[in-house]
Symmetry: C2
Subunit: 178 residues, 2 copies
DNA sequence: GTCTATACGCGGATAGAC
DNA sequence: GTCTATCCGCGTATAGAC
């Protein structure tokens, strides 16, 4: 599996449109023109709308795995890494973040996207439980992160939640912020 | 404004289909047949797809206001009432709950739905802050509730979160469960 | 590989009968 | 009020040129 740049550009455009306009309103035409190709060109790389979704699903799995690995290696610890990176901006976030938001939006319509999203959430829940030891604390941190994502979905900022998150971490996470 | 039973049945069917299949995949045909009327019949009551959405938005506002009033009057307190009723089943929940889940799903596509959802969330946030006094605690409880709804959106149960919620409430909410 | 042109089906909305 | 019949536009996918 090489890395065809054109495929990536198409997936980028698809992600953007899902995040900004929501799923199902995104037509192949819109994705194609946003990616700078024609509809025919798009359908050469992804044979159908279904294949396009499948491509994004794969990318989400890959990016989340990498993000989990980065969290485990982070000096601040998994919990702080998770909550910090969850408070982001859909318009200008990291690749993982934007892909995750797109995934959640797609989950409202596509069962396969929902399945992948659940799997990703479960991955974080496991990692958090490993670090925090306490299952209850892990549940709380995971749920707080989920709440932050829901706000992103409905277009509400989560900036004010930073303080609440730090308060929760002070009680749950052993490691200091620095 | 009387209460025409037929309108309500149509809105019920619309809500059900959004919850189960997601927005935008729900056609007027599907809503009509689920409600036991023809497409023409539906379009007599709601002149357009937009009007149908507007009807659900109104209903959401009404139901949420009533639910907030019920929470303020509940002996267990607002925080416990909120978290308890948030842990529900999309397939067989209360009217408010199902409407809220539908609203969030619609938020991924319809800006007006997102606006109403934000307003409802803000209402709960305010009520929680009133009761708990502490703004940080109110943020945490509100975010936990949001996280529970996100799980419902991606089709994941939140039953295991009951214990974590109770733990959080024991610290944040003054009143005992009984 | 990427494009244009086209076939095909579906969903929303209107007209008008009952 | 509720139905059937129909028009119209849009979105997916295919065929085939370059």
């Amino acid at each position: 599996m090489p890395r065809p740049s054109q495929r990536d550009r198409i997936l980028d455009a698809y992600t953007d449109l899902v995040v900004t306009s929501g799923p199902e309103t995104v037509t192949l035409d819109a994705v194609a023109s946003a990616a700078g190709v024609s509809k025919g060109g798009l359908l050469y790389h992804f044979g159908s709308r279904e294949a396009l979704l499948e491509g994004l699903l794969d990318r989400c799995r890959t990016l989340t795995d990498a993000d989990l690995a980065a969290a485990r290696a982070a000096p601040e610890g998994i919990a702080r890494y998770y909550l910090r990176t969850s408070i982001d901006d859909p318009a200008a976030g990291s690749a993982v973040y934007r892909t995750t938001v797109a995934m959640i939006k797609l989950s409202t319509t596509e069962p396969r996207a929902a399945e992948v999203t659940r799997r990703c959430m479960a991955g974080w829940r496991t990692a958090l439980a490993e670090e925090l030891g306490d299952a209850l604390a892990a549940d709380l941190v995971a749920a707080l992160g989920d709440g932050i994502y829901l706000r992103a979905i409905v277009g509400q900022s989560s900036a004010e939640l930073g303080a609440a998150a730090e308060e929760l971490l002070r009680r749950a996470a052993p490691r200091p912020p620095e």
